[in-house]
Subunit: 461 residues, 2 copies
């Protein structure tokens, strides 16, 4: 096989390697410089495997295995609205498009349709793990968990807590009700997947303006009891930040609001983090809190550009989020592409860092390797699964995608060559150039098969 | 049929309309509020058509006809490098990736392979007209023209003039040689398509730093003799602008250099125009010179963000360019999407216009309708074909694409629904929301058929 691994600054290519996965989906051997015959003769023997019980998937010419993508921030309940936002920005977009759609999913047949398609599209785009926001509705949230489990996508499923400032037709009645409803979804998921192996609950205060102090305090308590992860939004949009200042006049900052209520900790995923101050970023780093970078959404809603290099240099762990449907795409590959492009925007003349010398500005730019790292290992860190997913190492899970850039038709007359996707490989490219072509022009056509914990959860028909 | 037309601020939908195209590819009737039976009974009779000689293409549910895209700036010779630029910006990118690739296409078998794939991919993405840069090589440039003609893509094909500052291995020897070589390709194309109906030559000084004064003057003369269009680059990158200042110390500005040599006129297409001064933009408007906006390239090479609204308000006609391979994508739909996103960047806090009030900044944002206008009618204006292409009106050419967003599986159980592309239509969307979904998540899978001048030049297999 050809497998590709990565560190923040460098892709590691495992050419001619065998990765052996057991029945439970765990990687039990990684043998480099290996072909099928050698694997059978040496690795199978060592593992005590017999040929009859092993199923083999080979990467053909032009194909390679890549760790599954981790989407650290996605609203499954907004999936039907992808691409639909007109000229709105965050706060009017919430009221015009988002709340009505979310509220409508209390209809379970509609929720079934929306969530099925969302999971199917994200799997088709290579997302093996997703941190989902559902809605405030318990039954529909439980349904999302059921569907993730049955379709085999590793998922964190969060019932949205919002008992403040929401529209009348879509709001939790009280802190007590919000917490009880949240506990109900936790118990449902425990019944489905007792060890939270594939599907886990995640505590989900929508964002500070939508949560009463009591609800945030209650969620902090619940987290102490359950040790569950938590997710929310921070510092996405200028008007939102103003609103937080008005609502929490005693807090030093937006990050400080969450800190005050005890939920700024290493189990918290903060989406966006576009306009953090130096002090906020330092606090987030100190608390070991994670960041979901959502460049597609931040550009689509004109929110701004998060300074990923700056966050990373502070030691903050960062992953990528599609932020469907603030983001228009269910694809983490698209999020990676846009992460690269918006990081370039930070370096441009006329941009945010215009007062810095060009050399300093250029440091903002993320490389192809770096954005792929954020899409996989970075994401695994953010969702607390860095020991299980995001790479191909013994003891980790086989959460992977088979990527196909197209066989190079060296022997095929150009006139007989048919188009299968937007990536065009000519045959003279280096591996890193092939990867760059995938990042910039790839789409779900290139993702032929997807596995989660060893289970084949998507293949192209 | 469902056909979609557009003005700068508004899409026009022709529901239940018949568009009749004659054998020469010309639209001879557009009948709204019409079905097939009515078309046969009234329009065919009026046109004197008999049923036996008419071929009918219907848009099924979920499909619509859209004007073919116009790519106002694309380097066919750089196509194999799409997505490959590492961390480079314009000037080092030229030396590291671009010049070696272009030079290598003096090998005609290689040029045949590269140009065939480029034309095939751009057709598959709905590009019915392209303004191409080839290379300095006469034979390879002629080959590109031959291939466009035989594959049926409307094209402007430019032999690149560069007799200054280029690398030793890739440079015109002298102004005389540059002009003679250009004349040779013009004569070749005249032999191929005497009226320049499908393929036309276009005069192509690479950019001011790469052209001697004598060459620019010579091209100006040649343009006066031939009335051919011309294309070049302007004000893409800060270092490039500095270089122009050094090379032309007597010129008031970059735009002024072209003006001095008589080539800033209504037949000139200027690519990029990212960092124009107020004075330059006014001069360009006065000369009725056109602009090819290339947002994908400008973000990928960290060049900057062109202020399209500002250009339009000065009365400058603007189209979109992929700028392959400074741009990573052969798709004008991707260029439209990025045109929308980069226009949002102009409105962001921390961006170029940070000193303006938010309301002023928000004016920079382009709508979905507006970027689709740039992709079609705007492009048609830029290449001087506004009377022939870019819309469905009697007397214009049938340059069109059949777009399919997927039949809405209202009656299909969600579990049996298969994925065909990244656009997901649920059935409750308004037309403008379907179009937005196409712009944000569409790709070549949605472009089922493509026609140029009535000839079917692409269909999905």
């Amino acid at each position: 096989m050809e497998a590709i691994m990565l560190e923040l600054n460098e892709l590691e290519y495992l050419h001619n390697a065998a990765v052996c996965v057991d029945r439970l989906g765990k990687i039990v051997a990684v043998e480099t410089d290996c072909n099928q015959q050698k694997a059978i003769e040496t690795v199978y023997t060592r593992l005590g495997w017999s040929l009859d019980n092993v199923s083999v998937t080979l990467a053909r010419a032009g194909q390679f295995f890549f760790p599954g993508f981790v989407d650290t921030h996605i609203h499954a309940s907004q999936y039907p609205n992808v691409g639909v936002f007109g000229k709105s920005t965050l706060l009017d977009w919430l009221n015009k498009y988002t709340f009505p759609m979310e509220a409508s999913l209390s209809s379970l047949p509609k929720a079934h349709r929306v969530y099925t398609r969302c999971i199917r599209q994200t799997l088709a785009h290579g997302t093996t793990t997703a941190a989902y926001y559902a809605t405030i509705d318990v039954n529909a949230t439980n349904l999302l968990a059921d569907l993730c489990y049955s379709m085999g996508q590793r998922a964190f499923v969060g019932r949205v807590c919002m008992d403040h400032l929401g529209p009348e037709y879509y709001i939790d009645e009280s802190p007590d009700q919000a917490l009880a409803a949240t506990r109900a979804t936790i118990e449902h998921i425990r019944g489905l997947d007792s060890g939270f192996e594939i599907v886990s609950p995640i505590l989900t205060p929508r964002f500070a303006p939508a949560c009463s102090a009591e609800t945030m305090r209650g969620l902090s308590e619940l987290q102490k009891q359950t040790q569950l992860p938590m997710q929310t939004h921070i510092s996405e949009n200028a008007n939102e930040i103003e609103l937080v200042k008005e609502l929490f006049p005693d807090s030093k900052s937006y990050a400080n609001v969450y800190d005050t209520y005890g939920i700024l900790n290493e189990k918290m995923i903060l989406a966006h983090a576009v306009h953090l101050t130096e002090e906020e970023a330092d606090l987030i780093a100190e608390r070991k809190t994670k960041v979901a970078h959502c460049p597609v959404s931040n550009s689509a809603l004109s929110s701004g550009v998060a300074r990923v290099r700056w966050l990373l240099e502070k030691g903050i762990q960062v992953g990528l989020g599609t932020d469907v449907s603030g983001g228009y795409s269910p694809s983490i590959l698209e999020a990676a592409r846009q992460a690269k492009l918006v990081s370039n925007h930070l370096a441009m003349p006329g941009g945010r860092s215009d007062n810095l010398p060009q050399e300093e500005r250029d440091k903002s730019k993320l490389s192809v390797d770096e954005v792929l790292y954020l899409a996989t290992k970075g994401g695994a860190q953010v969702v607390g699964l860095a020991d299980k997913i995001g790479a191909f190492q013994v003891g980790m899970q086989w959460d992977a995608q088979l990527v196909d850039l197209g066989a190079v038709p060296a022997e095929v007359a150009e006139d007989d060559f048919t188009i299968d996707g937007s990536v065009d490989i000519f045959g003279w490219e280096e591996w890193d150039e092939c990867i760059a072509k995938w990042v910039f022009n790839g789409d779900s056509r290139n993702t032929k098969k997807v596995w989660v914990q060893g289970r084949l959860v998507h293949q192209q028909t």
